[in-house]
């Protein structure tokens, strides 16, 4: 296959990727979009295999290629088919990590192979090395935190953290200059990757819990930028186009997530939430004598008379794996003539769109899943808002107290509905670490229980009434 033909095939593949992403703008066209993207990838791989240097690499080279593809394909397929929908944030974190690492490795390989790389190649190699290693280790930390393995879900902060990060960043740039000035010394690139790796870990440990959606989206963007940068290393159009598409996608999601928490990206990256001792009232002051607890039977009677019910899921629903029970309850209420809808806050859960995927898994019609802005005006006409495992995203303090850590964060206006039922184990605070006056409001009933069990009890009780 000639170079021109290969480049043309790459161009077709790039167009397919763009159409693929375009398909994701509507659930009806999304499956086809994903298939278009996959066929673009297949085309690109076939074209590369037809390249003279790859075809002519001998039995050993071709054996390595087949081996690598089979091994990677098997791992990828196993992950994709086995992963539970509740664990999607972990899966995406892993994929981000691999994307970053692959880019840094390819850049290193090109550096090792070329005797006198151009300035463009060496500078791009440095960029790939830094972004790739930061992405890899940053994503591994995110994965670890999501899975709750070694690191705490909470932000990890220590004195001198920021100066240390700046120092590491400068060291990486210094090593980068060394790589560019003398590309033949591969040790410089190795050290650069090492420093980038440490930086990746240190940049991600201060981000915790409910800030995870931002971290995941940002690392997603990095993995795209690393691929684009590797495109500059190879002077390859398709890597540049694809990498910048992914980079843009991650950046947009990052911005949406930050806006949904009314925080700057810097504030999130520095893990600044919760560590400021504000003048927020203590839990006792907010809750004492005002919290009304209800039994499943009482809530069932309330639901039985309700004409419109809005379900507000949060990370707690994912932890309790209660999405299927929630759907059963919704179906039951709909069978009794009620209108049931879902209100999804942009940062509910641990990654962008987390709640939507869980409810889709439970066969909830996607037309019933509403974004915050579209459902907020309708809470006034809502009889019962049922909150399952959400806290900060329904905390009215965001509207009223400018000194609160969540001040100005857009919230779901559940407190405007006639009755609010909160299913929660205890009055423990959410990620922001502040009490929620909603729990003590006159129109709020607390149903203290495990998420899944509470819904099961409600289903049984509704059937009895």
């Amino acid at each position: 296959m000639t170079g021109t033909l290969i480049d043309l095939t790459y161009l077709v593949a790039s167009v397919l990727f763009i159409f693929g992403i375009k398909g994701l703008t509507h659930p009806r066209t999304a499956v086809r979009g994903n298939l278009l993207g996959a066929s673009g990838m297949l085309l690109a791989v076939i074209a590369t295999l037809a390249d003279q240097s790859v075809l002519g690499s001998g039995a050993w080279g071709l054996g390595m290629i087949v081996g690598g593809v089979v091994l990677g394909g098997a791992i990828g397929a196993t992950l994709a088919l086995r992963i539970q929908m509740t664990a999607m944030p972990e899966m995406v974190a892993l994929l981000n990590a691999f994307g970053g690492a692959a880019s840094a490795l390819v850049a290193g390989a090109v550096l090792a192979e070329s005797s006198a790389p151009s300035t463009q190649t060496s500078v791009a190699t440095v960029t790939s090395g830094i972004i790739g290693s930061v992405t890899f280790f940053g994503s591994l930390v995110a994965f670890d935190k999501l899975k709750g393995l070694m690191l705490p879900d909470k932000p990890v902060l220590f004195p001198g953290q920021q100066p240390l990060n700046v120092l590491l960043g400068l060291t990486a740039l210094g090593l980068g200059t060394l790589v560019v000035s003398d590309p033949s010394v591969l040790t410089s690139y190795g050290l650069l990757v090492l420093v980038g790796s440490i930086l990746g870990i240190l940049l991600t440990i201060p981000i915790g819990g409910a800030d995870m959606p931002v971290a995941i989206a940002l690392l997603n963007s990095y993995s795209g930028l690393a691929a684009a940068s590797t495109g500059f290393v190879l002077s390859n159009d398709i890597l540049i186009i694809t990498g910048s598409l992914v980079g843009a996608s991650g950046l947009i999601l990052t911005r949406i997530m930050c806006k949904a928490m009314n925080r700057s990206l810097m504030n999130v990256l520095l893990g600044a939430i919760g560590d400021e001792s504000t003048s927020a009232p203590g839990a006792d002051e907010v809750y004492a004598g005002k919290v009304k607890s209800a039994s499943a039977e009482e809530v069932a009677m309330l639901l039985d008379g309700a004409k419109r019910v809005v379900i507000v899921p949060g990370y707690g629903m994912a932890v309790a794996q209660a999405q299927h029970q929630v759907r059963d309850l919704a179906n039951l209420l709909e069978g009794n003539g009620a209108e049931v809808e879902y209100a999804i806050h942009p940062v509910a859960g641990r990654m962008p769109g987390h709640m939507n995927v869980l409810l889709a898994e439970a066969d909830v019609d996607y037309d019933k899943l509403h974004e915050m802005d579209s459902i907020n005006p309708s809470f006034k006409q809502t009889d019962v808002s049922l909150i399952i495992g959400a806290n900060d995203i329904v905390n009215p303090v965001a509207r009223t107290d400018p000194s609160s850590p969540i001040a100005g964060m857009p919230i779901l206006d559940v407190d405007k509905s006639r009755t609010v039922v909160v299913i929660k184990r205890s009055l423990s605070p959410g990620f922001a670490g502040i009490p929620n006056p909603l729990f003590a409001a006159d129109n709020t009933l607390m149903l203290f229980a495990d998420g899944k069990q509470a819904i099961l009890d409600l289903i049984a009780a509704v059937k009895d009434t």
Binding site: A38, S53, A77, M85, L234, V357, A360
Partner: protein, 94 residues
């Protein structure tokens, strides 16, 4: 450096295309967008293939590592996205 400017042009234009399309992706599909974009950022697989086929032993080894990781992204990313998207249904079609 001759090739640099055209490449930079492509990069910037692609960023704009990305912003234009992705802004239109509804929050409903943000998770599949992330896993799907992970799959296409597995395009590094091309660079990995070229590196594995290169002469030097070090670049072959590094390329092999990249090939395995990029293939995980491509296969895992597209498959898990497909699995997820299959779940988004409207009742009347289901």
């Amino acid at each position: 450096m001759d090739a640099f400017l055209p490449l930079l042009t492509i990069f910037l234009l692609a960023v704009f295309v990305g912003f234009e399309i992705i802004t239109k992706v509804p929050p409903l599909l943000h998770t599949p967008l992330m896993s799907g974009s992970n799959a296409i950022s597995g395009i590094t697989i091309i660079g990995a293939l070229l590196s594995v086929a290169a002469e030097g032993q070090l670049s072959t080894m590094l390329g092999f590592g990249a090939l395995v990781l990029a293939t995980i992204n491509v296969v895992g990313g597209f498959l898990v996205t497909h699995r997820m998207l299959g779940m988004f249904k409207k009742k009347d079609q289901a």
